[in-house]
Structures are given as C-alpha cells and as structure tokens.
C-alpha cells in the first residue's frame, strides 16, 4: 500500500499542483560514519517528520544537518539505521527510483546550463517516461506556479536568468513530477536578501496548497522561523537539541545552545506568531483614523506600525468594519505575561 503511495507521482502524477500530498518520513538510529574519523558525522538520529509539514534542520555548519538530509535520498549512503518513507524502508528501492520520487533543491541550484528552462523542468517527468504532451503541459503549469511566465521563459537558457529566477526554476523542476517529499538544502542562500524574502514568502504560500513533506536545511534561524512548521535545532553529530514548533522554541528554548542560536530579540520574534486577534481588543478610540491592522496580522506587524508612526495604539479593522483597537501597552503586557509564564 505504501509502495502505491510512493508510486503515484511516477505513474499518474497530476494535472494540478499538489495533487500528491506529503507522506511521513521517519529516521531510525540513522548514522553516518566516515572512514578514518572516530566521531560519527550523524550519530544515531531518531526523528519523525510528519506528513505535509515543513521541518527545518537548523544548526551550525558542520553539525551534520545536510548529511542527514542527503541520506534521505541516499545522495550519501547511511552507515547504519533505517529511513522509512510512508512506512516503507527505502533501502528496498534502488537509488535512481528513490530519487525520482523526491524533489531536490540545492543552494547551487544546479540547472543544467545547456538545456532550456523547459527541458530542465521536464527532467524528472522525462526520466519517468511521461508522454510529450503531458510533459509540456506540466512544464508550463510549474513555471506558472513559481511565478514565471511560460511564454517568456520556456525557451531561455539558465544563464539568461537572474539568481532568483533560476532558483524559481529549481523549485519548479523539483515539483515537476509531483513528488510527495521535497529536500531543500539552503535553497535561498545564494540570492540577495530582498529576493530571498520574497521567495520565502511565496514558497510558504505555495506550500499551503501543496502540503508536501519538506525537509529544509538552513543555518539561518530567522529563515527557520519564517518557513518551518517545526524546527529541529541540531548540534554536532546531528544530535537533536530541540524539536518543536517555532513558537515553542522561542518561548522555551531547551538550553543555552538553543538560546544562542535564536540570537537577540527572542521576545520580539515571538510576536510574529501571535495574531492581533489573540489579544483582548480595546474600544476604538478613533484617534488615528488612517492607521489600522487586521485581526489576522501578527503582533510584530502591529508593533512595528505603531513604533514606526510614533503612536501608542492602532485601530483593528476587519473587512472595513472596526473591531476595536490595540495598544503598545497591551502588546507589552502580552510579552511580559508569556515571559513570566516561562520563568
């Protein structure tokens, strides 16, 4: 049965994005030992990655996060341990079959320079033997999904695109055969900060419809906060220090290593995860008529707006209807309360 779920993208695929949702992955005592070293690069890692979530591996360089990720599609052969995808031990599959079922996006992007954008995106479907018509339709669909006009970009070569555009193609290529799982190794690491922010946001939105199981590796904790449904903070030997939702990690870092990784401003970062609607609204004073936030905005946005405009409260407006207002004091009280709750 699990074999069938994995087979789905290979034989049927989809005509709409995200027709194959994610499947769970579990790592059991996963280990990588390189010859000639005493310490294992990845030391008996146990981890459950739930279906349809983005799990971000974050940790200092050399902690083994990339090695752990690359063992999932066996770009690195595990020394020991078991990887199960949707309950099936992947050791039973051969390397190429396994990899064709897993989307793969890397920092270097790795578009094939002598092939057009369309051929690059068509790569895995072609390897899986889809017919030409279906591939062409899928290529256009995928380019549209990642925000590139197929008419304009289909026949170009990778070097004619900017870094940000190339990584969009990289994502389109990984999604082309509609795999249930995606592995992403610092995919937005090589683009400028502005493009990176935009790509992160679009990717986050895309995932809400795709619901793939995504293993995302980064050393940037803010990126982990922005994208992760769950974050695994790793240290040397790929040891899991803390594995939890971003909110919980911010609210209660497991130890000094995690706090160190969160860096400055943990309290402020936490405001990202609290919607305006989570606060008791005060009656609208109507003083600053131009400024408003919506209940679905987060408290960080609200505070930023108030600090930026030098006001102490803003109106909360939903669909043109005033719902009340929030003040700096109420946000401060909120932060103070959860801090108090922790200690």
């Amino acid at each position: 049965m699990s074999e069938q779920t994995l087979d789905k993208p290979a034989t049927e695929g989809g005509t709409s994005p995200g027709s194959t949702h994610g499947v769970p992955i579990s790592l059991k005592k996963l280990t990588k030992r390189y010859p000639g070293t005493d310490k294992a690069a990845v030391d008996a890692v146990d981890m459950e990655i739930p279906a349809g979530e983005i799990v971000v591996f974050v940790g200092p360089s050399g902690c083994g996060k990339t090695t752990t990720m690359r063992m999932i599609n066996r770009m690195i052969a595990p020394s020991d341990g078991v990887i199960e995808i949707d309950g099936e031990d992947v050791a039973s599959l051969n390397d190429t079959t396994l990899r064709r079922r897993i989307g793969y996006v890397i920092q270097q992007i790795g578009l094939i320079p002598h092939l057009t954008i369309a051929s690059n995106v068509a790569m895995v479907p072609k390897l899986l033997g889809w017919d030409k018509k279906r591939i062409a339709a899928r290529v256009d669909e995928m380019l549209t999904v990642v925000g590139l006009d197929p008419e304009q970009y289909r026949d170009r070569y990778p070097r004619q695109l900017s870094g940000g555009q190339q990584q969009r193609v990289g994502v389109a290529r990984a999604l082309a055969a509609d795999p249930p799982i995606m592995l992403m190794d610092e995919p937005f690491g090589a683009v400028d900060p502005i493009t990176r922010g935009r790509l992160q946001e679009e990717f986050r939105n895309l995932q809400q419809t795709l619901k793939k199981t995504i293993v995302f590796v980064t050393h940037d904790f803010d990126e982990a906060l922005r994208l992760g449904d769950r974050i695994a903070v790793l240290r040397e030997g790929s040891q899991i220090v803390q594995y939890d939702t971003p909110e919980n990690i911010l609210a209660a870092p497991a130890d000094d290593f995690v706090s160190g990784f969160i860096g400055e401003g943990a309290a402020l970062k936490r405001l990202y995860f609290e919607p305006v609607s989570s606060l008791q609204l005060e009656p609208d004073t109507g003083s600053e008529a131009d400024l408003s936030v919506s209940p679905s905005d987060n408290l960080h946005q609200a505070l930023d707006l108030m600090v930026g405009k030098g006001v102490s409260s803003v109106a909360v407006v939903e669909a043109g209807q005033s719902r009340g207002s929030i003040s700096v004091q109420s946000i401060l009280a909120r932060v103070g309360r959860s801090d108090g709750a922790r200690s």
């Binding site: 790795g110 002598h114 070569y157 935009r198």
Partner: protein
C-alpha cells in the same frame, strides 16, 4: 537645489526598472549566437591571398626541370589530399582513444588508473617524434606506421583536455542531476560530456594541428603527404620549391584549424555557447 531638478532623474530610473518585476530581476532576453560570424571570413580570404601571391611568385621565377616537377599542380593536389587524409585519421583516432580514456580516469571507480594513463600519454608526447619514427621505421613503414606514431604523439592534448573538461563541470549541476535520479551513465552522456565539448574540442584541434605539422616527417616512412615534396626539395637544395611547399603546409594547418574551430563551435550546446 530645487525639487524640480531632483524629480526628473528619479522618474527616469523608475521607468527603467520593473520590466521583470516579481521575478527576481536581472533577466536578459534570449540572444541567438550564430555558429558562423562575419569575422570567420577573414582567415580564408587571407590564406587565398597568400596562395595567390605564392603562385605569382613561383610563376615569375625561371624554374629548372626538377623544381617544376616537384611543384607540378597535379602532384601537389594529390599530396595535399593525402596529407589531410592522414591528419584526419590521426585526429579521429586520437579522439576515439583519448576521450574514453579521459572519461575512465575521471570515474570514481577507475580513478586509480589516472597516473598510469597520464604517464603513458606524457611519454608519447615527450618522446622525440623523429626518433620514434626512425625506431618504428626499422620494422614498419607506410601509412599505418606513421598514423600509429603520431596518434601516440598527439594523444596527450586530447586526454588532458577531456579530463579538464569533465572536471570543470559545476559540482552543483552534477549534484542536482544525480539528485533528480539520473543514472551515472545519463549524467555522463547528457550532462558532463556536452558541457565538456568546448574544451575537448580545443584539445582535438590542437591534436589535428600537431598532426598536420608532423605528418611531413612521415615521408621518411613513405606515408605520403606533402612531406615527400618537402624532403625532395630540401635534399636537392631547391629553395623556391622548399619555400612553396612550406607555405602550402602552413596554409593547410591554418585552414584546418579554422575549420575545426567552426566545427567545435557548432558542436557546443547553445546554452553554453
């Protein structure tokens, strides 16, 4: 400064950007680079001029029987054809042997063979070609003997370039190709080799030119080609004939290099041209 003067340039800048808004910026429209450009016409024209000048120079001299015998048009044309034929045979053989060898020594499993293969190729080039010709000439003569020696001699150029060409392929591209589930053979044939074509091609060009330039030595082993005429004119001390044959060989080498250059460009995939 008034607001007016600062306002203008800003508006202009705003007009320029945002053409590719929302896509990360920096896109350039696809440019088609043709295989043959106008600049390619320069060399053949030059060579024709040189050969025409040579023709009139030779015509202007009074030639003795021996010289006009050496410079007989029919003989020269057939010798040139022979010369080209030998050179191409060598170049083709070199590519057929050196490219697979280069692939072999860059595969993880057979990488151990690299020092051995390179040492052999180095030996082939370092050994004096005239000495090798003399040595082999004791036992064998003719077309294949010369082809054999000069193939060994030109091997290194293509072997080295094949190795360099395969090694310069971006590791990220290989990682992605493998990670998408391409088999090692598919990665080699559809990614690595196409991307190495410009560099392998440059090696093959060098090998061809080496062959054209050394085939005259093959005349000692009766391999044919323009070497026959060159040696005859040197032996009989006929300066005009020597000059004429030397110029023809030089022109031939330049022309074949030109042709190979175009071939190389044609074989290079569009996206990397």
């Amino acid at each position: 400064m008034t607001a007016e003067t600062t306002e203008r340039p800003r508006a202009e800048v705003e007009e320029e950007v945002d053409v590719y808004e929302g896509t990360g910026g920096g896109a350039r429209p696809a440019a088609r680079t043709p295989v043959i450009t106008r600049r390619d016409a320069v060399l053949p024209v030059l060579l024709v001029l040189v050969l025409v000048a040579l023709y009139f120079y030779v015509q202007s001299r009074t030639l003795d029987d021996l010289t006009s015998n050496i410079l007989d048009t029919g003989t020269i044309v057939s010798a040139t054809v022979e010369h080209v034929y030998i050179s191409f045979t060598i170049a083709v053989l070199v590519v057929l042997i050196a490219v697979p060898l280069g692939v072999l020594v860059t595969r993880p499993r057979t990488r151990w063979a690299a020092p051995v293969v390179l040492a052999l190729a180095n030996f082939g080039q370092a050994a004096p070609s005239l000495g090798l010709l003399a040595l082999v000439g004791i036992y064998y003569t003719g077309f294949w003997a010369v082809v054999f020696i000069l193939t060994a001699y030109s091997m290194l150029a293509v072997l080295r370039n094949t190795i360099a060409g395969l090694q310069q392929v971006n590791p990220g591209v290989l990682d992605a190709a493998k990670g998408m589930g391409m088999s090692p053979a598919a990665v080699l044939l559809r990614v690595e080799l196409p991307l190495a074509v410009p560099i392998i091609g440059a090696g093959a060009r060098t090998a061809l030119i080496l062959a054209v330039a050394t085939v005259p030595l093959g005349a000692f082993l009766n391999a044919g080609g323009l070497g026959q005429q060159l040696i005859a004119s040197i032996k009989t001390d006929r300066a005009v004939a020597t000059l004429a044959i030397a110029v023809i060989i030089a022109c031939l080498a330049l022309f074949l290099d030109w042709l190979a250059g175009i071939l190389q460009r044609w074989a290079t995939p569009r996206g990397v041209r």
